[in-house]
């Protein structure tokens, strides 16, 4: 009830006596709780001793004697520090190159004039409609021909250009008044200088929105790294984790899986909690709500 009271006090005067915003808020709280349950379960399952047996495994109430055994098991089965490092290298590597490619491509589609601009742009957007699985064999052949099989660079390469990112940056750049660029042009700024000092700083929210999408999707990618990587020491987190979550004949050690999952998502989760406000505002300003 305290929550409702506070909500009442915090609400703008005009809506203070209205019921709909409060209902909306309650619904949000309810949804958040539903969303929270898997995380809660993961946390509880991680700390539950295996001596509790599988009977209690599905319960959300924490065990009275929490244990770190599951975390230790998961830590021993997988070389997690290395998996973390590999995933971080993959995600940052992809993102850095993507920043360059989507800025230039986005700028070209937003501001440059060239023959067949619109058809080329639509052709580019068609990439969004292809299921990545479809391209596994041709991509892998290319990676092998380039001598990048079983390397982290091979995992990153197909994602260096992003149709979605280009689209996003094109939209962002188009929203920037051309007068700013014209002023810079009069001052003698080169093309790169104009992009660097006008377009990029003014589109930072779009960049961060794209960064979130890019990092989370590559952090979670499983099939492509599985195809490219052979050496155990080059595995990213998803492949490392699935060593103990995939099963052929129908049994699973839930405690260890929960612990492993927790370790895999923890960095993203913590980053999100710290930068929550910024993340959300970046989506709001970039128009993706």
């Amino acid at each position: 009830m305290k929550l409702i009271e506070r909500l009442y006090k915090d609400a703008p005067l005009a809506t203070r006596n209205e019921i709909t915003p409060k209902l909306g808020f309650l619904l949000t709280v309810l949804l958040a709780l539903v969303w929270l349950i898997p995380f809660l379960w993961m946390g509880v399952a991680t700390l539950r001793p295996s001596s509790d047996g599988i009977n209690l495994m599905a319960e959300l109430i924490p065990s009275l004697k929490p244990t770190l055994d599951n975390i230790r098991d998961a830590w021993e089965i997988g070389d997690f520090p290395r998996y973390f490092l590999n995933t971080t290298i993959i995600c940052t590597g992809i993102l850095l190159v993507q920043f360059v490619t989507i800025t230039l491509a986005g700028f070209a589609f937003a501001r440059l004039d060239f023959a067949g601009k619109t058809p080329i742009f639509y052709l580019f957007l068609m990439q969004l409609m292809l299921v990545p699985v479809l391209l596994i064999v041709p991509n892998l052949s290319l990676v092998v021909q380039l001598g990048l099989y079983d390397t982290l660079a091979g995992v990153m390469m197909p994602f260096f250009a992003s149709a979605f990112g280009t689209f996003l940056m094109r939209q962002a750049f188009e929203a920037i008044p051309t007068e700013l660029e014209d002023a810079a042009l009069i001052d003698g700024a080169s093309l790169i200088q104009r992009i660097r000092h006008i377009y990029v700083p003014l589109s930072l929210p779009s960049f961060s929105a794209f960064a979130i999408i890019s990092v989370t999707s590559h952090w979670n990618d499983f099939l492509w790294p599985l195809m490219v990587i052979n050496s155990p020491d080059k595995r990213p987190l998803t492949v490392g984790l699935s060593v103990f979550t995939k099963t052929a004949e129908g049994t699973q050690d839930w405690g260890t899986i929960a612990a492993g999952t927790l370790m895999v998502i923890a960095p993203l989760l913590i980053t999100f909690l710290i930068f929550q406000k910024r993340f959300i505002s970046s989506f709001v300003t970039s128009g993706i709500k």
Binding site: G53, I54, N55, M57, A58, A74, E76, I77, G78, I136, V137, L140, S141, V143, V144, Y149, F222, L223, L226, M227, N230, S231, P232, R235, V239, S242, V243, F244, T245, K246, T247, A248, E249, G250, T251, Q252, D253, W254, T256, G260
Partner: protein, 444 residues
């Protein structure tokens, strides 16, 4: 004096370094490096066991350096193997789901092992003679050997003996027919009003598992899933399969003794262990897990019959993909023979619950000892007398999914068995069309 000593030391070091550098050059090439692709059969601890196994092999074979490469589920392993063959980087050996061999052979993705067997001075019959006869159906194609059985399974009926006793049933006399099983399941289901607190039986249905369970039920219903001699035909829309699916559906919809919906394997084993389901049909590959986690007396039994006792083989074989260079092929062959030897085969069987395909494994002292302590490990082996090959067709995975998608609809209460099987047959015929056009329908 000091100076000269330094000089001497420096010279000595330079010399030793030159020596160290020269050693690899003098010894020629290093060990043959090979990759072994492996899916994880049960859980992560076994991935570690696989590491132990390969390390032992490398220690005993200094001229070969094998690396165990984890490749996901059975289906993922097929995708990865195929992609790497097409990209020109095939691994030297793969632990491949036994029923994918035919499809791979049709696509020319397998190395025929006959010449490797002959080079050892052995005949095909001698070589295959080491393994249980029921396994050759999935290892031999057109009278040539393409796979070596490594970890194999049959489906089993697991019974919670404590719950059976509670319900006045004797788990030492397990149900032998579907009628008896239905009866047991009814007695073992507990209800509070409309809510079920304990299910009589659970049978898994998820991709990969569902097709295998449908083959199990169809076979014990007198039928067959596919044409064992030819990869272009499946028998989905048949009385034996309709009977099987209808019975499974009745357990859910009519008798209400089986949890509704398509339940994945891990959920089935979890609810059996937790006492939420009193019986389950699951692979012998889960036996070690059940043994280690069950806090009650349990019993494993043959799959009950409606018409006859029959079960399919499951599990995986070792293969050498096409396009592996000769020296790597030789190294892979050494690894394969080592892994399927009686001792290693027996060790892996004890670790996983799969039965050891090599018959001599059961004569090793460790295994004799193990079986005397764990008689439940014998059931799958005894059941081999009635075991038949695992379904294998052209494009096995899509053809299997054509059926699985429909079976899931039935179990979820969205379709009737007959309609589902007609639709599955139609979809599968479509998938098999290109192969039939090239083979059975190509008239001279």
């Amino acid at each position: 004096m000091l100076f000269s000593r330094r000089l001497m030391l420096g010279l000595a070091m330079a010399g030793s370094m030159a020596g160290a550098l020269a050693v690899p050059a003098l010894a020629g090439e290093g060990p043959t490096e090979i990759d072994l692709f492996f899916p994880v059969p049960v859980d992560g601890k076994l991935a570690r066991d696989m590491g132990t196994l390969i390390k032992e092999f490398n220690d005993g074979h200094p001229d070969i350096k094998a690396t165990a490469v984890y490749t996901g589920s059975y289906d993922d392993t097929l995708i990865k193997t195929r992609a790497s063959i097409k990209a020109g980087k095939p691994p030297a050996a793969v632990i491949m789901s036994a029923n994918f061999l035919l499809d791979m052979q049709i696509e020319n993705e397998l190395t025929n092992l006959d010449s490797l067997i002959a080079a050892d001075g052995s005949t095909k019959d001698q070589f295959l003679g080491q393994f249980f006869p029921a396994l050759s159906g999935n290892a031999v194609i057109n009278r040539s050997v393409y796979g070596v059985p490594f970890q194999n399974s049959t489906p089993l009926l697991y019974i919670n003996a404590d719950k059976a006793k509670e319900a006045g049933l004797d788990a030492s006399k397990p149900p032998q027919t579907w009628a008896e099983l239905t009866d047991w399941a009814k007695k073992l289901t507990k209800r509070e009003g409309d809510k079920v607190t304990q299910w009589g039986i659970a049978i898994p249905c998820a991709y990969d598992y569902c097709g295998w369970m449908m083959e199990t039920l169809t076979m014990s219903n007198g039928g067959r899933y596919y044409n064992e001699e030819f990869g272009g035909e499946v028998y989905y829309d048949t009385p034996s399969m309709l009977g099987a699916l209808s019975w499974w559906n009745d357990l859910i919809a009519k008798h209400k003794v089986h949890p509704p919906g398509a339940t994945p394997g891990p959920a089935v084993s979890t609810s059996f262990i937790s006492g939420n389901a009193a019986m389950m049909m699951l692979s012998t590959g889960s036996l070690t897990y059940v043994r280690e986690n069950a806090k009650f007396a349990y019993k494993v039994a043959f799959i009950p019959r409606n018409v006859r006792n029959a079960v399919p083989i499951g599990g995986a074989s070792l293969i050498i993909p096409a396009g592996v260079e000769a020296d790597k092929q030789k190294a892979a062959w050494t690894l394969i023979k080592w892994m399927t030897s009686p001792e290693k085969s027996a060790w892996w069987s004890r670790a996983t619950g799969y039965f050891a395909p090599n018959m001599a494994a059961y004569k090793t002292p460790d295994m004799v000892d193990f079986l005397s302590k764990n008689p439940d490990a014998k059931t799958a082996v005894e059941q081999l007398d009635v075991a038949k090959p695992w379904f294998a067709t052209y494009k096995t995975v899509p053809v299997r999914k054509n059926l699985e998608d429909e079976v899931m609809l039935v179990l979820n209460g969205k379709k009737q068995p007959k309609d589902a099987l007609v639709a599955a047959q139609k979809a599968a015929d479509e998938t098999l069309k290109p192969y039939n056009a090239e083979t059975s329908l190509k008239l001279p």
